[in-house]
Symmetry: C2
């Protein structure tokens, strides 16, 4: 089993890589090689594993290597994020649309019909107010109407991957990831960044800014549920998946105020007090186009389920990142 | 008013050009220049008009000219057709996706926010059997799930044009054309070609092949209704259009057997007898993925309506193309 993870040095990429290396197999096949393609170098613990190979550089330049490597499994996570794509249209078109087309052509040229899991996004659902509202409840076959360039590019790629799959060029599966919270480390350029920051920073003893009102409802998934979804979608048969349409995931729907209540319940009032409010209309506008509620029956049939509570998400973060938690509450 | 029609030497393109030149204005503005961009030369009657300019060659090579011309209005009709795209994946990606991206970037570079009508297609609705059936009734916001590369490319472009519009790069409107019947002239590479051929060839005294069963139901529009839709969508305000989502059109839903009954009623049994049946599984498979029934309320609000009957469509064809009709019935 020869696996490629694009965006393999990113947060989800490294977490997926560690999970794969720890379990030693994918779909019952032992993992011989795991390539982490990314513009950045992967963390040392991953590079130290004899099975890991780093492919550092833009995906656009790696087509020949990818075609030659004949990967069996590909997790395509590399992407410019929402706020970047909104600020720089060309960046998004190049990093998302063109890079993915390059990847798809390389995988097709390899000729071995690799199985590809594509990280799409719930940002494909944006509505078109006032004509089409943001869907109040997203069901499996709700019409996607993106309100951002990021969501548009993801939706276009879902369709393209569906066509590559129909043509038999590869075996693609698109899964619409939810906002992942709590992400460790430093903020990235995503408009959703604060949904991790308002937990992560206070727990580290640092002030954090919440740019949206307390009653903003969002749909999130923990890192662990996100990884579980990527692996389950990889392993599922086409029948289990229920066709080529991109898969929505079960979501934990929670208001920002309730996220902070959970933070206070888990870590105390002093931690919560480190969050201050500073409205950012740009972020607020983007977040308001993301649906907050999902009924994801196809994913549930695969055995996937949402996080039970935001408190459990915070506890998971604290357990996984002891070094990032300020000792004294 | 400076207008560009891509695919301007094709059937719909020339018909649209003649209509525009005859009415002399678009949206109340007099037409000064009409550029017909096409790989083929436009017909002499159009080239003889002082307002007409031909831009012969692939769209991919015309970006600089288009950017410099600062068109006010663009009808983007140029496209590889369904059967071509299914037979040659690269051709479709280049002729549809890449060429349209080139056009969009040229129009954006022009900097004058031109109004663009994009000829998308009802082929964006294909279903994903057995998981998602072809929609038995397509409503305005029915989920599009293409089953062909052509439909996939059209759907991707609808989304991209929606994003260019949202960003203010241009004012785009995507309209999903139905199969046009009766097309004059010779068969093109479209899988839907027989839906004109089974009327046009018998009327000309020539045998014609019907590749699908008599009970196959299809959604069609006459050339005149198609041109009317393109013009109405151009002239509509954003409010009238009801947002950025691609617009479905009112359809005449008719079974192939009833098309032939209408042919017999209009032109006699001897004409109908020139149609023979020769199943073509490739065509049958493609046509079976096209929905046959539409409820297109947004388009109806614009005042658009379906052809009243297929007999009226045949009569229109006979009236418009006297030279193509065999004198003796």
């Amino acid at each position: 089993m020869n696996i490629l993870i694009t965006g393999g040095a990113g947060f989800i990429g490294t977490l997926l890589a560690r999970t794969l290396l720890a379990q030693g197999q994918l779909g019952g096949e032992p993992i011989q090689r795991l390539t982490l393609a990314d513009r950045a170098e992967a963390p040392p613990d991953l590079l130290a594993d004899a099975r890991v190979r780093a492919a550092v550089g833009p995906l656009l330049t790696q087509a020949d290597d990818i075609a030659r490597a004949r990967h069996d499994a590909v997790f395509h996570l590399a992407s410019a994020v929402s706020a970047e794509c909104e600020a720089d249209f060309e960046l998004g078109m190049r990093s998302n649309l063109d890079s993915t087309r390059t990847l798809l052509e390389a995988l097709r040229a390899a000729g071995n019909q690799p199985r590809l899991v594509f990280a799409s996004s719930a940002a494909v659902f944006g509505g078109d107010p006032p004509f089409l509202p943001v869907p109040p409840l997203v069901e499996d076959h709700t019409l996607a109407t993106p309100q951002t360039s990021y969501g548009t590019q993801k939706l276009m790629l879902e369709q393209l991957i569906g066509d590559y799959t129909r043509k038999g060029f590869l075996d693609g599966r698109a899964v619409r990831l939810l906002t992942v919270s709590v992400r460790p480390g430093r903020p990235n350029g995503a408009a959703s960044g604060f949904l991790s920051g308002i937990v992560r920073e206070p727990l580290a003893g640092i002030e954090s800014v919440c740019p949206v009102p307390l009653d903003t409802e969002v749909a999130i998934a923990s890192p662990a549920r996100t990884i579980a979804a990527l692996l389950r979608v990889y392993e599922a048969s086409r029948d289990e998946l229920g066709g080529r349409s991109a898969l929505n995931l079960p979501a934990l729907s929670v208001r920002v105020g309730d996220m902070l209540n959970a933070l206070e319940a888990v870590a105390g009032a002093a931690v919560r007090a480190r969050v201050r409010f500073e409205p950012d209309p740009r972020v607020e506008r983007i977040v308001s186009t993301w649906p907050a509620r999902f009924r994801s029956l196809r994913a549930e049939k695969l055995g996937l389920s949402p996080d039970p509570s935001f408190a459990s998400v915070i506890e998971q973060y604290i357990a996984d990142h002891p070094a990032a938690i300020q000792a004294r509450r």
